[in-house]
């Protein structure tokens, strides 16, 4: 077992289905040869076939006795076409015909976007963003005959060794989430790496950093101060996908609920729900019902003027609330050879240029002027349970700005885990 486990929570009641996460990941990691078709991060509409097509009905994972379960290998067509367009011919060479894609696609990664289901006059759907679950018991790891898949002991990230992988794809069959992709050019299988090169520099995952819906929370599950610990372990409002498949996923979802059916306004969401509970139970297990009931109660409280602690946390007012990245701790607990390769203090590249600091400040803008260059991770003095500093993104905090109170309060906050009865401290 890994000593620590990075985990992610995605709040599906905040997800707007914009796919910025998908593009953030695509442009960061999967823009290379053989990778066009793969989306380590994708967003799918449910109920729906998902991507690859039908993944959730294929099988994989473990049975109760920890035996790997059978699954077909998705065909290339199940991942959809990566269409190309010949603009040159129509726009610059006098071609009369309309620009058409190179293939007549019958399925693509977001083919059934916004379709969902309907019950008479009540359509329903929700968005499910997906990455590799970096499972506690990764079926892919178990299935790999090369032992080319491993789980990093220092942070629980599951990786496929791109040198040793031989592309057999047992891992793809074994993964119940079908989140591993075969690269036809390199002959290797690839997947989400939980952005370890970013985390090692104190930067949150690209999909989270770029999420405008601000649905993602990242941190160590075993760090009592991390938002994921609070959401998953303390308030218990986030659930893994397909808990019955035995892999113990480390991506958790705050389950979705749609508005009441037409004519049901005022009744409980669980009373004749628009979004069928059976489908949610299928995805998230039976606990989903009590979680939704709890969240509905919290919403009602909030609407009655009684702020809800968990909802205040899920608001996630700024990135310090949503992410807690601890590169120093992870490095400390990494093997010695890995420690030599990672240095949280050394930037991954030059910082964004600051050209005009001397011409500032002018009223109302001191924070922008004094913010530390963003690319250089600077740790903010926050005590942690591990006795190490957490890297807190500094873009929105500084010593002299209007929110200096915040800075001060977080600096002195030796926050304990449990509910302390007072105002929640995370905003």
């Amino acid at each position: 077992m890994s000593q620590h486990q990075y985990a992610m929570v995605m709040d599906l009641n905040k997800c707007i289905g914009c796919h910025t996460c998908t593009l953030a990941c695509k442009k960061q990691w999967t823009d290379g040869d053989g990778m066009d078709y793969m989306y380590w991060n994708n967003v799918e509409t449910h109920p729906g076939t998902g991507y690859p097509r039908g993944w959730h009905t294929m099988g994989g994972g473990f049975d109760r006795h920890r035996n790997l379960q059978p699954s077909p290998l998705p065909g290339r067509e199940d991942y959809g076409e990566s269409l190309e367009y010949d603009y040159g011919r129509r726009l610059f060479e006098g071609g009369k015909k309309p620009v058409m894609p190179h293939k007549d696609a019958k399925y693509m990664p977001n083919w059934d976007e916004d379709v969902g289901g309907w019950d008479k006059d009540n359509p329903y759907f929700f968005y499910l963003p997906r990455i590799c679950n970096h499972c506690t018991h990764p079926a892919c790891l178990e299935a790999c005959p090369r032992k080319a898949i491993y789980k990093r002991t220092e942070d629980g990230i599951v990786l496929i060794d791109q040198q040793r992988c031989q592309g057999y794809r047992y891992c793809i069959k074994a993964c119940p989430y079908k989140k591993i992709y075969f690269n036809e050019v390199t002959g290797k299988s690839e997947k989400c790496i939980f952005c370890y090169p970013r985390l090692e520099k104190g930067k949150v995952n690209a999909c989270a950093a770029q999420c405008p819906g601000r649905i993602r929370f990242v941190g160590l599950l075993d760090d009592p101060e991390s938002p994921v610990h609070k959401i998953v372990r303390k308030y218990k409002v986030a659930l893994g996908l397909f808990p019955d498949r035995g892999t113990e996923p480390n991506v958790y979802y705050v389950p979705p609920f749609n508005p009441p059916k037409t004519g049901n306004y005022g009744k409980s969401i669980l009373d004749d729900p628009r979004l069928p509970l059976d489908y949610l139970k299928y995805l998230f297990g039976p606990k989903v019902v009590e979680v939704i009931a709890f969240l509905e109660g919290e919403l009602k409280d909030a609407q009655s003027g009684r702020p809800s602690e968990i909802l205040q946390l899920l608001i996630g007012r700024d990135e310090r609330v949503r992410y807690r990245i601890v590169p120093d701790l992870i490095r400390r607990d990494a093997p010695a050879d890995v420690q030599q390769r990672t240095n949280p203090g050394e930037p991954a590249g030059p910082a964004l240029e600051k050209k005009g600091s001397r011409e500032l400040p002018f009223p109302g803008n001191e924070h922008a002027a004094t913010a530390t260059p963003e690319e250089t991770p600077v740790t903010h003095a926050v005590n942690t349970a591990f006795g190490l500093e957490a890297a807190v993104p500094t873009a929105s905090i500084c010593g002299t700005c209007a929110i200096s109170k915040l800075c001060a309060s977080s600096a002195g906050d030796g926050a304990s885990d449990e509910r302390d009865g007072g105002q929640p401290r995370w905003y």
């Binding site: 707007i16 726009l91 032992k147 390199t186 991954a348 005009g356 109302g364 873009a395």
Partner: protein, 948 residues
């Protein structure tokens, strides 16, 4: 020659392919099929448990190396998305690789969530356009018919000479008002905007509007509030306790801001979504109302009636802040004016019935009042009643109040809850609870969008919704109001911008409402009669009255309404930049057949070959968003931030500013060479000297570079005092103040900007005739058409067709930008699609992904169908902006539309309602179009493969 050059990868082609993995691309397809589970190679057995330890971790550097770069520069985008998001662009080996939100908007307060990370999936892949096959690299001159895509590569000198000569020909031969300039939305890149408008200004050309033409202007705001559009910045949504998404699909069209609504919900707000389709914003609402298309005013007015009938309205607010207490004559329907009661009295001083003195008393704060305040002092207006006053001639005049008339209007049975439920397809209880909650939950806001604003009767819709926000006392309060967000129209540093755009002022500039210009210069007739008369009758009247301009100038008194589409003087040139005029134009089939044929020079300045560029004569390559120096702001937030040259303009492109500078220089050079330097512009009383054209354009060298222009705007605006272009490189800067002549609220530290606090808190009069939120308009045309008060009118549609044609803003493009971006197309279905309800599809034998023909009397479009349970039966939706050349097997999404001008938007000379570019002029609405759809079995163009 050399047209191929344009899509061959240049020297700076992207090196995004990974080079670190030794591998071969041979036999790719075969690899997938045969390599699986071959088991031919020996296992190298390693004796470890990879859950616990792994000995070969050196390879991990592979991905670490990918997360490195040489340079990162701040820039943004200007596609009129209203986002105004600051981004970092990463460069490696001299190539732009990727972008990531800068994420450093300063926080407003401890309580409010911040604006980070501000951006969307489209902004995350703009680099594709920098190097993509659509990129314009060199000046091009048309070598075939317009639209053929046959070009001759030209030098800058050759292209500019052609354009300059033609513009000068037009000035001297046909008049300066035959040169027409179209660009949009200064806020998103004001320097690029001003480069061209300065040139138009010194040439005497016509500058066209955009905000009304695209129907993004909510005409109810100028009518009711005397402003263009005033909305709170989006952080203020978080202050609300009741958010109504009305015709606004924020999750698709306000991606960077949507979180504020859902976070407000977690903070105790209820969210209501009113929309015919169960869209991606509806899924998170507390109450979803699947309203029938075109019935929104019925819902608003039935709710208003319920609120008034049950005394849930905010009486003190209504008395002070609205015209509902103002007296109206029963006989004429006109306001009771001072000129009615006193000989020589003012026309713009109005009255209330004071309960204390039981008499009509003049109220302060009217346009003609000496006292510029809303404070009523000792006055206590009676809101309902009927009284008799004596006029200046001693005759009795029966008067009532605006509220009295409004109650009479709302008493119409169509506004009863039951009838409204029937018309709107909604449960009675939902309407009642909606009205109750809206009135009782404070603060409450309506977030309004194009879904409703694009209807023909948008003015009535706006006024009905604003009425709801006003009678509940929500307008002018944080977290409340009617907040309309369509288009990035607000230019915060307005004063500096105007000085830069039109140096000698608006009176020395020919301005044109584009809706009228396009309609009248195309053979496109709206068949509807309004009060028995065609719209051309109203247009001619409006122009003759001097209410609306129409260029080129004609001898209007000699023209008849039936000549309005074949005017003697026609526009001769059209210069388009920062816009895709043709693709986005309502009625573009008619435009291609008429207006386009009359224009003998069409110039497009662009970084990519869009539809307008394709149908142009001269295409000039502009720098992309990542190769220019400019500014960017929006009404959605209160910060200024910059565009930057991540790399210098690529290929032979230049920034818009530099292109217009080069053109200005060329005009001067050609004017001198032709001996045509002096031109007396009689219409504007301006002796022009083209011999110093460049010196005029760049203010004798004082505003020569684009950075000079940025600094000029910043220095000449209260909002940006102390900022410089360089200082903005440090990060978005919040505005430091406001120009009180322009704005209605202050920028305050720690407080989200919300409009009209000057009126609510400082009692400054509203910018209307009555000085109040004005729901009653006693202009003769309004009275004649029965629109003096908010009312519901049925859509101005074509009933011979069964389905509404809905072309809203969507998730995957900003208008036409990103429509052709393959990263985006791969996450859709790759070709244009129309959404259809399952019942409407099965009735017509249409299956999912079938090719279908959508048609009506205007034209047709052949696209693919996608069956969507959330679509409203009786309507088709095609998210707008698809380029005409992409995937359509004939026609385009605008081939089905035509322009319908509403007479109420043609008026002028009425208090606060006078023509003003992008503030007041007829809107180019398009929601009332109807169509039919059928399965298409004709030929489909070849699926043609990637560029070589």
């Amino acid at each position: 020659m050399n047209s191929n050059e344009n899509q061959r990868p240049g020297p700076a082609a992207p090196v995004t392919r990974r080079k670190f993995i030794a591998g071969t691309g041979a036999g790719l397809a075969a690899l997938w099929a045969t390599r699986a589970f071959g088991g031919l190679e020996e296992f190298e057995v390693i004796d470890v448990d990879p859950l616990k330890t792994y000995p070969y971790r050196g390879w991990e550097d592979l991905y670490r190396n990918q997360y490195t770069w040489d340079k990162v520069v701040r820039s943004t985008h200007s596609a009129n998305c209203t986002g105004s998001c600051s981004w970092k662009v990463y460069v490696k080996d001299g190539v732009m690789l990727r972008e990531e939100q800068a994420g450093d908007y300063p926080r407003i307060s401890e309580e409010l969530p911040d604006y980070n990370p501000r951006g969307c999936q489209k902004g995350a892949c703009f680099v594709e356009y920098v190097y993509g096959a659509q990129r314009l690299k060199y000046p091009l001159i048309r070598a075939g018919e317009r639209g053929d895509g046959k070009w001759k590569r030209a030098s800058w000198d050759e292209a500019l000479t052609l354009v300059a000569d033609k513009l000068l020909d037009n000035v001297f031969q046909y008049g300066p008002d035959t040169n027409t300039f179209f660009t949009v939305i200064p806020a998103m890149s004001p320097v690029s905007f001003c480069g061209g408008t300065r040139l138009a200004h010194f040439l005497g050309g016509v500058v066209c509007s955009f905000y009304d033409w695209y129907c993004d202007l909510p005409p109810g705001e100028p009518i009711t509030w005397g402003v263009q559009t005033e909305a709170c910045e989006c952080a203020d949504w978080f202050n609300s306790k009741y958010i109504v998404l009305w015709g606004s699909n924020i999750n698709a069209t306000r991606i960077p801001d949507a979180h504020f609504a859902w976070e407000a919900r977690y903070n105790g707000a209820k969210v209501v979504c009113i929309s015919p389709d169960y869209n991606c914003s509806a899924i998170h609402a507390d109450l979803y109302m699947q309203i029938a298309p075109g019935s929104d005013a019925v819902l608003a007015l039935s709710a208003a009636r319920y609120i008034l009938d049950n005394n849930l309205h905010d009486v003190p607010y209504v008395k002070e802040q609205t015209d509902l207490g103002i007296l109206v004559r029963r006989d004429s329907g006109r306001f009771l004016r001072e000129s009615d009661l006193v000989r020589g009295g003012k026309d713009d001083q109005f009255y209330v019935w004071d309960s204390a003195t039981n008499a009509a008393r003049s109220v302060p704060g009217c346009m003609g009042s000496a006292e510029k305040t809303l404070t009523l002092g000792g006055l206590d207006p009676t809101l309902t009643g009927e009284w008799t006053v004596t006029d200046a001639d001693g005759r009795p005049v029966v008067v009532t109040t605006v509220l009295g008339l409004l109650r009479e209007t709302l008493a119409d049975p169509q506004y009863s809850l039951e009838r409204a439920a029937d018309r709107c397809h909604l449960p009675v209880n939902d309407i009642r609870r909606f009205a109750e909650e809206l009135a009782r939950t404070k603060p409450a806001m309506i977030i309004h969008g194009a879904g409703t604003n694009h209807w023909y009767h948008n003015d009535l819709l706006n006024r009905s919704m604003i009425l709801l926000a006003a009678i509940t006392g929500n307008v002018g309060r944080n977290g409340g109001g009617f907040n309309h967000y369509v288009g990035q129209e607000r230019i915060w540093p307005e004063h500096g911008f105007k000085m830069l755009a039109f140096p000698k002022g608006g009176k020395k500039q020919r301005f044109q409402n584009t809706t009228m210009w396009t309609y009248c210069h195309s053979k496109m007739a709206d068949p509807h009669k309004i009060d028995g008369k065609p719209i051309e009758h109203y247009i001619l009247d409006s122009v003759r009255n001097g209410w609306m301009p129409l260029w080129p100038k004609q001898d209007w008194d000699k023209l008849r309404p039936d000549q309005m589409h074949d005017l003697p003087r026609k526009p001769r040139s059209l210069i388009v930049w920062r816009a895709n005029y043709l693709n986005q134009a309502k009625g573009n089939e008619a435009i291609l057949k008429s207006l386009w044929k009359d224009l003998d020079l069409i110039v497009d300045i662009n970084y990519r070959m869009d539809t307008t560029a394709l149908y142009s004569d001269v295409v000039l390559p502009a720098a992309s968003y990542y190769e220019k120096t400019d500014l960017n702001s929006t009404d959605c937030h209160s910060y200024m931030h910059p565009f930057s040259k991540v790399l210098d303009p690529l290929f032979e492109s230049k920034t818009d500013w530099d292109i217009f500078k080069a053109l200005a220089e060329k005009i001067q050079e050609r004017a001198v060479a032709r001996g045509q330097t002096r031109f007396t512009d009689v219409g504007l009383d301006w002796d022009r000297d083209f011999g110093r054209f460049l010196a005029d354009w760049n203010d004798d060298g004082r505003i020569d570079s684009d950075e000079d222009a940025c600094n000029y705007i910043l220095a000449n605006s209260e909002e940006t005092k102390g900022m410089s272009y360089k200082s903005l490189q440090d990060g978005p800067a919040r505005f430091v103040g406001i120009d009180a002549d322009i704005w209605n609220s202050d920028i305050e530290a720690g407080r989200a900007y919300t409009p009209f606090t000057h009126q609510i808190e400082k009692k400054r009069p509203w910018r209307t005739l009555t000085g109040r939120q004005q729901f009653y308009v006693d202009h003769e045309w309004y009275l004649a058409l029965g629109e003096q008060l908010p009312a519901h009118k049925e859509p101005q549609d074509d009933p011979q067709y069964p389905l509404y044609w809905n072309t809203p803003h969507g998730r995957w493009s900003i208008h036409s930008t990103w429509r052709d971006n393959r990263y985006m197309l791969r996450l859709q279905r790759g070709v244009p699609i129309v959404y259809i309800h399952p019942d409407d599809a099965s009735k017509r034998g249409i299956a999912d992904n079938d090719w279908v023909k959508v048609f009506n009397q205007e034209g047709y479009a052949v696209v693919r169908a996608k069956i969507l349970p959330g679509e409203k039966s009786g309507r088709l939706t095609m998210y707008h902006g698809w380029e005409k050349y992409l995937g359509f097997q004939g026609g385009g999404w605008q081939s089905l539309t035509y322009i319908k001008i509403k007479p109420t938007q043609l008026i002028g000379g009425y208090g606060h309602l006078n023509f003003k570019l992008n503030y007041w002029g007829p809107t180019g609405n398009n929601r009332d179009i109807k169509v039919e759809i059928a399965k298409y079995t004709g030929p489909v163009a070849e699926y043609s493969g990637a560029a070589s």
